[in-house]
Amino acid sequence: MTAVVTKAGAAVLSTEDLNAYYGAHKAVGDVSIGFDRKAVTALIGPSGCGKTTLLRCLNRIHEVGFDARVQGRVLLEGQDIYAGDIDPMAIRRRVGMVFQRPNPFPTLSILDNALVCAAKGLSRNEKMACAEKALRSAALWNEVKDKLRSSPLRLSGGQQQRLCIARAVAAEPEVLLMDEPTASLDPIATAVIEELIASLAEDFTIVAVTNNMQQAARVSDRTAFMLADETGVGKLIEIDDTAKLFTKPSDSRTEDYITGRFG
């Protein structure tokens, strides 16, 4: 069963019959989904439904793990990112990722973290400008501008996560993937990042996995619901505009999840 594909032409990133495996275990089965340009799409579903695995297939990080395998197509601006001659590194620069737990590089300073993906051969001033732009778009510049050379481990969890967002944004990707970005943060830091997502959506297409339905409702334009079937394979059940999905879902399983009958 294929889910409803997005409005024609609006999808910058989409999958076709995507399957993802860990060894012999299929985690994601026959998922065809589209993500609209410059919109925020949330992926929700109970634990084990495959939403994180699906996300990790979108920037070819899933295959980095041992015994990990992907079947199917993922189209970025119409081009299959899994085609044989495609360099995964190039894809990852176009599709950035923010992880569940903040992971700033511990041996680099805050400034160097932000500049990791900056273009090569920039002058010192250009580098500072680039870093400032990235840190501003992550709403972090004012908090760190006096300690750019210090270790990122001194920052709070929320600040570290914003640093990771700045770092990802500095690469100027087309799509930004977020894997439960506020799962390890306190409510205030969470609120800051949710505001950030709204402003980031003006420049980037965002796909965010979240376990928090209220967050999905607050933050996203469209929401996709996934569920593992009896054999443990994650399937896409439904995708729709957020308002519609949360008030009048088409599938009864979606409704059960949203109303808290399980999960």
């Binding site: 990080i61 620069r93 990722m97 992880f99 590089f105 990802a168």
Partner: protein
């Protein structure tokens, strides 16, 4: 169960005796160490002075003299060995960490285990066969080669562990930004693993600092200052050995002093490594 069967009093006494015995054994081992160290300090400290540390050995019968050339030789031999062992060991560790499971990585780990169990004298014979016999002369370089073999298993195993212990999200974070495996490993993962790798290196150096057996027919020893690794060279551990088995009291006293130097060096390196590791662990938990 009848009270008579329980014999609690007897069993308790037996247990107390057993515990005392076990305590005695642990104390015995610890006391042996203190006894050995104590002896080395007491016997050796008297002969340690600036002359001892900086002079050449005197001929037999002439009092005084020192192990200056041995200290220099130790530094040179271990230095060259480190330069050779670190690249090979680190690269193999990187390979094992990145390629994990599979027949070839397991074979490499097996070979590393094999090497770690080979007696150092057999490794000395290997160095002799490869670098001394064909070239027809002893050399410090052949000693470095033997030391490199001794250091390799430690370096391989611990650099693999150190790289593996870098959290997965750090490596994935680097790859997710579009970095090549090369950049991710060399500029992000390895620097994060650096404290553990340096600790491993210190421990490997501590291991070879006291090694004597391979030196017998590789470096061979010398009475003179020597900086050319292509020539035979004095090494402190070898000097201690030669002095110890000699019949001259002057040399025997110097053997104790040299032994004290060796023990101090090994202790500083081992404890330093442990401290580094503890600090590094603390750093990661911040």
């Amino acid at each position: 169960m009848s009270v008579k069967y329980q014999r609690l009093g007897f069993r308790r006494a037996y247990g107390a005796f057993g515990t005392m015995l076990a305590l005695f054994c642990a104390a015995l081992a610890a006391a042996a160490l203190l006894a050995i160290l104590g002896y080395v300090v007491v016997q050796g400290i008297g002969a340690i002075n600036w002359a001892f540390l900086t002079q050449l050995p005197h001929p037999v019968g002439v009092p005084g003299g020192g192990v200056g050339n041995g200290i220099l030789g130790t530094i040179i031999v271990i230095g060259i060995a480190t330069l050779m062992a670190v690249p090979v060991g680190l690269l193999t560790g990187i390979y094992l960490a990145l390629f994990g499971r599979g027949a070839i990585p397991e074979a490499l780990r097996f070979l590393s285990d094999v090497l770690s169990g080979v007696p150092s004298i057999a490794i000395g014979l290997f160095a002799y066969a490869v670098l001394v016999a064909p070239l027809k002369h002893f050399s410090a370089f052949s000693a470095s080669f033997a030391f490199m073999m001794l250091m390799l298993p430690l370096l391989v195993r611990t650099s693999e562990q150190a790289i593996r212990s870098v959290p997965q999200t750090v490596r994935e974070g680097a790859l997710a930004l579009g970095m090549s495996n090369f950049r991710a490993t060399v500029f992000i993962v390895l620097p994060t693993a650096r404290p553990a790798i340096i600790t491993a290196l210190l421990l490997a150096i501590a291991r070879v600092t006291g090694e004597t057996a391979p030196l017998l027919f590789t470096a061979f020893g010398s009475q003179f200052w020597e900086k050319n690794p292509n020539n035979p060279m004095a090494v402190l551990a070898l000097q201690v050995f030669n002095y110890a088995i000699s019949p001259y009291p002057n040399w025997q006293a110097q053997a104790w002093a040299g032994a004290l130097l060796l023990v101090v060096a090994v202790l500083i390196l081992s404890l330093g490594a442990r401290l580094m590791l503890r600090n590094a662990m603390r750093g990661l938990d911040s």
